[in-house]
């Protein structure tokens, strides 16, 4: 996001709307004596577009230029209105568990593990994303990256989690690593993420997806409890009414 120096009146109304915090500074206009305008720190800005969409600039000085590669990855990951062509899903990720009832994405014995870096309000450079992805892949637990996820798309080697070198210096409001592994490997995956958490400069949230058993059991729960890992009282819950229904057990259950 940028500011047109000829329009900006330095009123500061855009300041509190930035999810990345105070990344603005005052500049003296080069050709109008005494005129002050606001400049946005382009290194810190993730091109999420929030200040623009908030429509609080009284003189319409904010604008989002068309960015070239690799800067354009900031908007792809950070602006929820931009649709990633690989998944055709607006936002940063995939359909993940939202459609598992019809796609069978997470069958019994398989867990989905999603790691979202940067949120809320911290942001993450792709070099941190790479650290987490490589730690997970280095654990050799058979973690398979989700194909249609934007972060997977930016990898140069999906088997190691290595990202393209030209995106490592780019930053996103949030970036999500998504994939699956076998249920019995969940504890090893969590330990890998615990190691990664000590190596990065940002934050990440961890989410674990599982198919609920026909009698209402949650297979991940005893593993998390045995490890002493926090899990939330609130969950995202697929209620299983999508059609056609994926036959998870081969008997239409």
């Amino acid at each position: 996001m940028k500011v047109d120096p000829d329009k900006c009146i330095a009123c500061k109304r855009c300041f509190p709307y930035c999810p990345m915090g105070r990344i603005h500074s005052f500049k003296e206009h080069e050709s109008i004596p005494g005129r002050i305008y606001i400049e946005i720190d382009q290194e810190a800005c993730t091109d999420c577009g929030m200040c623009f969409r908030a429509d609080i600039c009284p003189v319409k000085a904010l604008y989002q230029p068309q960015e070239e590669w690799p800067r354009e990855v900031r908007g792809i990951l950070s602006n929820p209105l931009i649709e990633f062509k690989g998944s055709q899903v607006p936002g940063r990720g995939t359909e993940e568990m939202k459609t598992t009832d019809v796609k069978g994405t997470f069958p019994p014995g398989v867990v989905g593990i999603a790691i979202e870096l940067g949120r809320p309000g911290v942001g993450a450079y792709f070099r941190d994303v790479e650290i987490v992805a490589m730690e997970l892949m280095g654990a050799d637990i058979g973690y398979e990256m989700a194909e249609e996820n934007p972060v997977t798309h930016f990898m140069s080697d999906k088997t190691t989690g290595k990202l393209r070198d030209d995106v490592l210096g780019e930053k996103a409001t949030s970036a999500i690593i998504e994939g699956i592994c076998k249920l019995e490997k969940l504890s090893e995956a969590i330990r890998a993420l615990q190691r990664a958490s000590e190596k990065i400069e940002s934050v990440f949230t961890v989410a674990v997806i599982t198919k609920v058993t026909p009698d209402g059991g949650v297979p991940t729960k005893p593993i998390l409890e045995e490890m002493g890992v926090f899990y939330s009282i609130n969950t995202k819950n697929n209620i299983g009414i999508g059609e056609p229904f994926f036959d998870f057990y081969g008997d239409n259950n």
Partner: protein, 207 residues
């Protein structure tokens, strides 16, 4: 992807906080799904959500239901927010009786959602996703009271500074909590937005 899953708060603050998503499946039922999504939205609207909308068009605080419905496409993901468990039971019964055909996900306190499923006759939750919390340099996060509001937006679009400014504005009598909540819903555009009750908790606790 994880959006509303990472909302923070106590059981009492979250037990009446429900985000309902309707989503067609790429590669399965997405082509021709727009009428199904419209049907899902119409059922939700009839039950009485506190907010409703879609990612690109906006929500009922910044446009009309007719506009939202008319602009639904096959790739639209829609969301509704409810602040009442009885309405969730009613919604689930309606969706079971008149299935729209797209997948439906509800974020909420697990035990409460499971109870609602049982009361509606839908059996157990199909699949669920736990949050294991936030790891790494957590000292960079805003304090917990601010987190309770900013985590209501799954895309992390609500700035901590904006919440702090709203707290100051409410304290000084410049605007009401309701006015703040409506502004958040309007600027955020999408509908995952908060129950008044939850934001009221968050803002008033800062006083």
């Amino acid at each position: 992807m994880t959006h509303s899953l990472h909302r923070r708060g106590s059981y009492d603050e979250l037990k009446d906080d429900f985000v309902v998503l309707g989503c067609p499946a790429t590669g399965v039922n997405k082509p021709g799904s727009a009428p199904k999504t419209q049907k899902f939205l119409s059922i939700c609207y009839k039950v009485g959500p506190i907010n409703l909308g879609d990612m690109k068009t906006g929500n009922i605080y910044n446009t009309t239901m007719e506009d939202i419905l008319s602009r639904v496409t096959d790739s639209t993901i829609v969301e509704c927010t409810f602040d009442n468990r009885d309405k969730i039971v009613e919604l689930l019964k309606e969706l079971d009786r008149d299935r729209p055909g797209i997948s439906v996900t509800i974020s909420g306190v697990t035990d409460v959602v499971e109870q609602c499923m049982q009361e509606a006759g839908l059996g157990h939750i199909h699949s669920l996703e736990y949050s294991l919390g936030t790891w790494g340099k957590t000292e960079k996060l805003p304090d917990y009271e601010i987190l309770k509001t900013v985590t209501m937006c799954g895309h992390a679009m609500i700035a901590s500074d904006l919440v702090r400014k709203m707290v100051r504005d409410v304290k000084r009598g410049r605007r009401t909590v309701r006015e703040c909540v409506v502004e958040l819903a309007v600027i955020r555009r999408i509908k995952r937005f908060p129950s008044f009750r939850k934001v009221r908790f968050a803002l008033q606790n800062r006083r």
